[in-house]
């Protein structure tokens, strides 16, 4: 609102207080309803995770986390995120550069296709990789030792005991799929809003393409990129449905943290399940904290939020 408009309205302020806001009783009731609803659905579950995690004492808690199967799950989850997040970052930056800095036909279709993984059920996200790489799958037929289209490839794969489905590569692929749009959908609207004049100025002044990107574009999109990485990482480390289809759930080998939680829960080791779950709940709190911090840090991000 312009300052002029504000001054214009000042004399009517007292009247407006009465007519454009709710009576105090209604306000209090609405705040009450909102807080009760959020307590029941958000605060209570959060408190519950940490209470249950320590139900058998701090000794049991650390014993559960030191278990070799838990360690293996933690390492696998970190590995999957360490591959998926950087790859989706490179993709996000490339997609945003092409879409925001250039004009070409079919841009809207491309934008819709990039968002596609968000509208696919996690179970189906896992299923599609089983259909491609599984024993009865598209490529699986060629990788199958009983049906050697490429004997040298079969021999190499068998020698190295290389599997995709029910093994680590499948878990990494499923993780990449479910986190695919996170960085791109933060960067595209941000770079579109920034336009290309700064980059064009840098080029006129003699900067190379890479110099332009590193010194002009990257500092401009830094906070948007960090924001996307935080969200991408949270989903990568917490993915359950897609990973559970392709993992095969071999304890100590192909279980990620969420799958290990399920295994403990199915064993009726509830305290153990919540102890491991508390790691992910803690990660969620860190994610929310960082997200709020980045939002404050860069007001421009609010523009992205609106356009979503």
């Amino acid at each position: 609102m312009t300052p002029a408009a504000t001054t214009f309205h000042t004399p009517h302020n007292i009247v407006h207080r009465h007519t454009t806001s709710e009576p105090p009783a209604v306000r209090r009731a609405l705040i009450g309803v909102a807080l009760v609803f959020l307590s029941l659905f958000l605060f209570l579950p959060l408190v519950f995770v940490f209470t249950q995690a320590f139900a058998k004492g701090i000794g049991f808690y650390f014993e559960t986390l030191r278990d070799p199967n838990a360690w293996s799950a933690i390492k696998l989850t970190l590995l999957a995120a360490a591959i998926a997040v950087p790859l989706n970052c490179v993709f996000g930056v490339c997609a945003a550069w092409a879409i925001a800095k250039f004009d070409f036909p079919g841009k809207n279709i491309l934008l819709t296709l990039i968002d596609l993984p968000f509208s696919v059920s996690p179970v189906i996200a896992g299923l599609i990789y089983v259909l491609v790489f599984g024993a009865q799958g598209w490529l699986g037929l060629y990788l199958n030792a009983d049906n050697p289209h490429f004997p040298w490839l079969q021999n190499w794969l068998n020698d190295h005991n290389f599997k995709i489905i029910f093994a680590v590569p499948g878990i990494v692929l499923a993780t990449i799929f479910v986190t695919f749009p996170f960085v791109a959908r933060e960067l595209i609207p941000l770079m579109q809003a920034q336009g290309r004049s700064e980059e064009e100025a840098a080029r006129v002044l003699g900067a190379s393409g890479w110099q332009t990107f590193w010194r002009v574009t990257l500092p401009n999109i830094k906070w948007g990129l960090i924001y996307g990485v935080i969200l991408c990482n949270a989903r990568a480390m917490g993915e359950f449905g897609a990973v559970s289809v392709v993992s095969g759930k071999i304890r100590g080998q192909t279980n990620t943290i969420p799958l290990h939680i399920e295994a403990l829960y199915d064993d009726y080791n509830f305290t153990g399940a919540f102890a491991v779950a508390s790691l992910l709940a803690f990660l969620a709190l860190i994610t929310l904290g960082l997200k709020t911090w980045v939002e404050h840090k860069n007001a421009a991000l609010n523009e992205i939020e609106i356009s979503k």
Partner: protein, 271 residues
């Protein structure tokens, strides 16, 4: 002219094709290994039909409840001041940040007979664990942020002059809300509803622990797909996946149209 167009667009299309499009095409390829009668028989088998009714019904109700409470939460966060508001605002995104398996076991344990909430519901004769009510609760949890986060920015940018004009013309507070504010929030509410509904349809991790997955009663559609996969019946799993994918794509289109409508309202207000 800026460099890198061919390189970045090329990589974008290559990566999109490799990770998303080719694997998704495999679903439709796999369906062709079934004959039409086989395909039809699979997608209309009684357990699948029961799962569609349950998944659609529970997702619809959960999204509807979220529209009402999400609007109240967004309203309170934008219009009122109260102690701890910033923390509450940040925590609204918890269902996005909390892994679904963690949400799943937490809700299952909270609502079990001996759980914190379950033991209060038990004397009232209400059972949430292993019932459709439990599925509805889990879907309400995961859908909550969608409505709050789509309505919040629109509510923040709402021009107070419109409300002032309405009240100076003699409308009472309820009339101003019902006839002036609510119509302007409608596109955002519908978008939030569609987003929450779409997410709920495909949801797996937060539901399966509280649902108990009893055939014909508490099996959601993703659980049916999972069951077929566990029996290595990829044809059947794929047929049901095709049904879900087609519904998802229709919803995605609807959401795109709704978002365009929401943004149009939004830019009108900003102008």
């Amino acid at each position: 002219m800026l460099p890198g167009f061919k390189l970045t667009l090329g990589f974008t299309l290559f990566y999109l094709g490799l990770i998303v499009l080719i694997p998704l095409a495999a679903v439709f390829w796999k369906t062709t290994t079934l004959t039409w009668p086989q395909f039809w028989q699979t997608i209309t088998m009684p357990t699948a039909m029961a799962s569609y009714r349950l998944t659609f019904g529970a997702s619809f109700l959960a999204a509807l409840v979220n529209v009402i409470f999400g609007l109240i939460v967004a309203w309170v966060l934008v219009r009122y001041e109260f102690f701890g508001k910033k923390i509450v605002d940040a925590l609204v995104d918890l269902p996005f940040a909390l892994p679904t398996a963690v949400a799943g076991i937490t809700l299952a344990a909270l609502y079990s007979k001996t759980g914190w909430i379950g033991q209060l519901l038990e004397p009232l004769g209400i059972k949430a664990a292993n019932t459709q009510l439990g599925i509805f609760i889990a879907l309400t949890f995961i859908g909550l942020p969608f409505i709050v986060r789509t309505v919040q920015p629109i509510l923040e940018d709402l021009d107070p002059e419109l409300e002032e004009a309405a009240s100076s013309l003699g409308a009472n507070r309820w009339q101003v809300f019902w006839r002036v504010v609510l119509p302007m929030l409608t596109p955002a509410l519908l978008t939030g509803f569609a987003l929450a509904f779409a997410r709920a349809l495909g949801e797996y991790g937060s539901v399966i622990f509280i649902a108990g997955n009893i055939p014909m009663k508490t099996q959601i559609t993703p659980v049916i797909i999972m069951g077929e996969l566990d029996m290595f019946d990829y044809g059947k799993a794929t047929a049901i996946a095709v049904v879900m994918l087609v519904v998802s794509f229709v919803l995605l289109l609807t959401i795109n149209v709704l978002q365009w409508w929401t943004n149009r309202y939004n830019t009108n207000n900003l102008a």
